[in-house]
Amino acid sequence: MAMEKSGSLMDPASERAKRGAFFFLMLFAGIIAAAWDLARFVWGGTGIPKEADFGLGIGMGVLMLLSIAPMWAARRKLDRGDETGALGNFSALLIVSLIMLAGIVYGWRAVPIGTGYGGIFDVTSGWLGLYFVGGALALLASVMKGKRVPQRFKDERWVAYNVLSFWGFLVTSWVIFVLIFYVA
């Protein structure tokens, strides 16, 4: 059996390509999120039911906005070449993602799924929850890789950058979700 190690000539994309092409993945994910968000007005109308947990929604929105701080800190450290230093920020974001997941599930109790607003709220937040699962797994993978094989983490810096870009996408998606489902 002939074998080849990963990260060789047969994965020739530059860091620019790996980071740039990630935009297309986020574009696809973003259009899906936008479709769900817009569907709120088709199925949920423009009113907000009184059962909707406004406090929870705003609280989670604020938490996501605050998470921009560790995200930017991690990015600056990566820019400086301090990959190990960024791991603490990755861990903080991992904790935020788990809190968000718990909040999403907790939020489903407020409005029944059988109503127009409840249905689109649950499906949209559930779909964003899948994004958070993906984000949490990516953050966990980054933290574990950074601790176990720091050199590989450094060599494949584009992965860490893409994880942070995805977190930025999550912040944007969640803030739009809050605006559309709790404010608009």
């Binding site: 074998m3 060789s8 020739p12 994309a13 499906v123």
Partner: protein, 627 residues
């Protein structure tokens, strides 16, 4: 092992022989084992907890998701990707024949698996078509063949599988993923593992759809329209999950195609020098990334109504027509996902066959991109009978506008042939036949887009004939052309030309004998999707069915021809067609590392200049060691 060692190892064919057979078979077996175990375990537990039976929608859905994860983990993704991503042991990538049987980041292996999958899916979906035609041999065959319910299930499976498991990937997956790096002058795509994953999503999705009758089947055809979907049997969840998985697979490939084209072209390959086939792939991928989300959400909302108790499309607050909009937002332009790579393949094959440059190349590219932009906006013409009059003229006009960029591509192909000395090889012959068929399919489509005509023709066999001319008549003819054209690149051997041409004519004759009468049937009042029809339509239906049996049986010829030629065909030279395209500048069959270490290609001219004495469009320059 450094890649240069791998190259020598692979090229010399000195792979170690220990545990070779096991290493080939085990990942597939393990994937199946983990997949089925996970499916039944989760479906069973869910059924127990929900106090229901295993075939109900919720257990079937959760079982499918678990089975899908089990399958892809078993395929080698765990040790080849996931474990490594978490900082675990780095599993070496296999470079020998084993890579075709497991998760692999080699696009050539992925593309080869696509071809095999497409052939198998085409076989089974084709058998479903034969079952449909047996049904229609007589006006009422329900006593001795399929019941109405099973007939509905059969044409639903046939339609969904032919579209999403065959047409969507025959050219993009099999040829596109193989040729994209070769044509762009790079060794791999931008995300090789993501591309590898795209194939492993296909088999479970196809198995779910084909097996849907086991849990009640579905009655909706390949549309999955609510509210019939919710009253259609549990099999509809396999339809929804299978369709969503197949779409996901296409999107993973599309992201790779777009990213690779944007970021990884060889030096000197400006937009004007990108090969035509790559433009076709780019257009198809763009449509997938931009349009798939609407349909994806519609499918999942349909599923949510079935398993979570929401009422998006059912009940007093439901909007069933919204599903139609979401569905056709992608699934009309999906036709262009099928056909644009086929158009582009014509413009890759015909210039070489005629030894002429692509005529009006920039107009052809504009045509391909024009179709890409207009395509997502026209889906409403599929349900003119259900929308308000205000929408009709808008979508009629938009749909008919598609003819203009389509005309650019057609005229470019015809202009390329004009004055050339066409060497009518089997691929060139099939391209011409595909053009002829698409012309009929395209012209009859104008009638479908025209509201007054459409209100008469809607839901009749006219529509069935029209879309078979565009998809079977165009895409599948071109698929064969593509397979024959690049067969020497992949195998190093030529396809038997005589049998290839014989089958091309067989296919062309019986295809037209099958589908041309369907236009007449449609005009004469035969509705589509009916198991029982009025006796006055019998003679034409009988003729169509007999023709269809010949058409279907004819596919034994290319099947045997391809298999035989792969092992016994005459040895091909490196560039048997005399093409100027970059993929023919490397060794055939393509080695594992297609562009060897130590040199890279620079594009210095157009790849379709066949004038006598024209300079080569590519030069090779040395690179620094390790690159």
């Amino acid at each position: 092992m450094a890649t240069s060692d791998v190259q020598r190892h692979a090229q010399n064919g000195n792979g170690e022989s220990d545990s070779f057979a096991l290493s080939m078979i085990w990942p597939m077996v393990r994937a199946g084992l983990w997949g089925f175990t996970a499916y039944f375990a989760v479906a069973w537990i869910t059924a127990m907890l929900a106090h229901t039976v295993i075939v109900n929608p919720l257990p079937a859905t959760l079982g499918y998701v678990a089975g899908l994860i089990g399958w892809i983990m078993g395929s080698g993704i765990w040790e080849g990707w996931i474990r490594r991503a978490f900082g675990g042991e780095e599993a070496p990538a296999l470079t020998g024949v084993e890579r075709y049987f497991r998760f692999s980041s080699d696009p050539k292996a992925t593309a080869t698996r696509y071809v095999v999958f497409n052939i198998v899916a085409f076989l089974f979906a084709g058998l479903a078509a034969m079952m449909i035609r047996i049904q229609l041999l007589t006006p009422d065959s329900t006593k001795w063949w399929l019941s109405e319910i099973h007939y509905n299930q059969t044409f639903g499976i046939h339609g969904l599988m032919m579209l999403l498991a065959v047409a969507a990937s025959v050219i993009v997956g099999g040829a596109g993923y193989y040729l994209l790096p070769l044509m762009l002058g790079v060794r791999n795509v931008v995300y090789p593992k993501l591309l590898g994953l795209s194939w492993w999503l296909l088999p479970p999705a196809a198995v779910a759809v084909f097996m849907s009758p086991l849990i009640g089947g579905f009655q909706t055809g390949w549309w999955g329209y609510p509210p019939l979907a919710q009253n259609s049997g549990s099999g509809i969840v396999f339809y929804a999950l299978g369709a969503a998985t197949l779409l996901t697979s296409s999107v993973l490939g599309a992201i790779n195609v777009v990213g690779t084209i944007v970021y990884m072209r060889a030096k000197g390959m400006s937009l004007g020098r990108i090969p035509m086939f790559v433009w076709g792939l780019f257009a198809a991928a763009t449509i997938m990334v931009v349009s798939a989300p609407a349909t994806f959400t519609g499918t999942l909302m349909d599923l949510s109504d079935m398993i979570l108790g929401s009422h998006f499309y059912t009940g007093p607050g439901g909007h069933p027509l919204a599903y139609d909009d979401q569905f056709w937002w992608l699934f009309h332009p999906e036709v262009y996902v099928f056909v644009l790579p086929a158009f582009a393949a014509w413009l890759e094959i015909l210039p070489t066959a005629a030894q002429r440059p692509v005529f009006a190349r920039n107009w052809a590219i504009a045509g391909i991109l024009g179709i890409t932009m207009i395509g997502p906006m026209v889906g409403v013409h599929h349900f003119f009978t259900a929308v308000s009059p205000a929408r009709m003229p808008i979508f009629m006009t938009l749909t008919e506008t598609i003819s203009i960029p389509s005309g650019f591509v057609f005229l470019s192909a015809l202009g390329t042939l004009w004055g050339g000395r066409l060497k009518l090889s089997s691929p060139a012959l099939l391209c011409l036949m595909a053009m002829m068929n698409f012309l009929i399919g395209g012209l009859t489509g104008i009638f479908n887009a025209d509201v007054p005509a459409d209100l008469q023709l809607h839901n009749t066999y006219w529509v069935v004939a029209h879309f078979h001319y565009t998809i079977l008549g165009s895409v599948i003819f071109t698929w064969l052309a593509v397979l024959y054209w690049w067969f020497p690149k992949v195998t190093g051997r030529m396809v038997n030309e005589a049998w290839a041409k014989f089958h091309a004519w067989w296919f062309f004759v019986f295809f037209n004998m099958t589908f041309l009468p369907m236009f007449y049937l449609g005009i004469d009042g035969m509705n589509r999707r009916i198991a029982v029809y009025l006796p006055y339509l019998h003679s034409v239906n009988f003729f169509v069915s007999i023709s269809a049996f010949f058409l279907g049986a004819g596919f034994i010829i290319p099947g045997v021809n391809l298999l035989w030629s792969a092992f016994r065909g005459s040895k091909a030279t490196q560039n048997p067609w005399g093409s100027k395209s970059l993929e023919w500048h490397s060794v055939s069959p393509t080695p594992y590392t297609v562009f060897p270490e130590g040199r890279e290609v620079v594009v210095v001219g157009p790849n379709d200049n066949y004038a006598a004495g024209a300079s080569e469009p590519f030069v090779w320059v040395p690179t620094t060691p390790g690159k």
